[in-house]
């Protein structure tokens, strides 16, 4: 979603996004593929899941009594190295299969909309239930889906909502942890806004928000 958002911001053909424009599809899918490996780095070294899939993986490791962290590579090399090797082999196979299957996979776009909608219906209901085996998640999916159907007609985008839903709990729990640590140390301002990495991240956030506002103003001025 972030890659799609950035590609949209930087593209000269913003109005084509959301209509199956190839730039948007390529950006989203490239980022989706590229984040699989890197999301395992904080998971395996710091026990911090970098993606929902990594969070599920973390759950699986914990169920088997394996707690990811800095000592993981010494304690369970028989688990971790096959993991990393399979990722490497997977990337090579992905490249080979991607080249040969892409033309066949593109035919999915020719499936009639009513058939595709019915298939998505089944998978959406199943997927939302299966993650936590909770009917509550299915209700959330129904409510949010219905809400977004109406909100999209008023120009709202689903991307921030999905981001908030996925990243919100992770950001909130980490912020609470950070707040507690900062209270015990030099206070929240020093903890969150000093140090090279903090300043870099805060600067990127400010630049990204600023660029969005500037880009929006610019496109409105051009349309006038």
């Amino acid at each position: 979603l972030l890659a799609y958002d950035q590609a949209k911001k930087l593209s000269p053909e913003k109005q084509k996004f959301g209509t199956g424009h190839s730039e948007g599809v390529i950006a989203a899918e490239s980022a989706n593929n590229a984040m699989v490996g890197p999301s395992l780095v904080p998971l395996l070294t710091l026990s911090i899941p970098g993606s929902p899939t990594a969070a599920v993986l973390l759950g699986g490791l914990i169920i088997h009594g394996i707690f990811p962290g800095p000592t993981l590579f010494q304690q369970y090399p028989e688990v971790i190295w096959p993991f990393i090797n399979s990722m490497l082999i997977g990337q090579i196979l992905m490249c080979i299969f991607g080249i040969y299957i892409a033309s066949l996979a593109a035919r999915v776009a020719q499936v009639p909309q009513f058939v595709m909608a019915a298939i998505v219906l089944g998978l959406a209901a199943f997927g939302s239930f299966a993650v936590q085996q909770s009917m509550g998640d299915v209700y959330v999916m129904v409510v949010l889906g219905t809400m977004m159907y109406f909100l999209e007609r008023f120009g709202f985008s689903a991307a921030p909502l999905v981001l908030g839903l996925i990243l919100g709990p992770i950001a909130e729990s980490n912020f609470v942890t950070g707040s507690l640590i900062s209270t015990a140390q030099n206070g929240p301002f020093v903890y969150f806004f000093t140090g090279g990495l903090n300043i870099l991240l805060v600067s990127i956030v400010i630049l990204s928000v600023g660029f969005s506002i500037w880009s929006e103003f610019n496109s409105k001025r051009q349309s006038q």
């Binding site: 219906l121 199943f126 889906g145």
Partner: protein, 86 residues
């Protein structure tokens, strides 16, 4: 979105509602089968009087549910709500 897509979206929401309502009575796969078939029937442009189109809808529904059931229930052994049926 064009009118067909709006109709499809509203039908989609209605079908999800059917799944949610029936899931605890009939079971996940049965509820999905009902909603899937209704959605196909409602939006398939083929004539209702054409017997071949009914056969086609039944085959598509059966194939989809069979794939889902085999993949998730048999191979991956994922738990789904069970009711009177599966």
């Amino acid at each position: 979105m064009n009118i067909f897509q709006h109709r499809l979206a509203s039908g989609f929401v209605a079908s999800i509602a059917i799944i949610v309502c029936y899931i605890s009575f009939t079971g996940f796969y049965s509820a999905t089968t009902i909603a899937f078939f209704l959605l196909l029937t409602a939006y398939d442009p083929a004539s209702y009087s054409n017997i071949n189109s009914w056969v086609k809808r039944i085959i598509i529904t059966a194939c989809f549910i069979a794939i889902m059931y085999t993949l998730f229930a048999k191979i991956l052994v994922v738990y789904t709500p069970r009711g009177m049926f599966i």
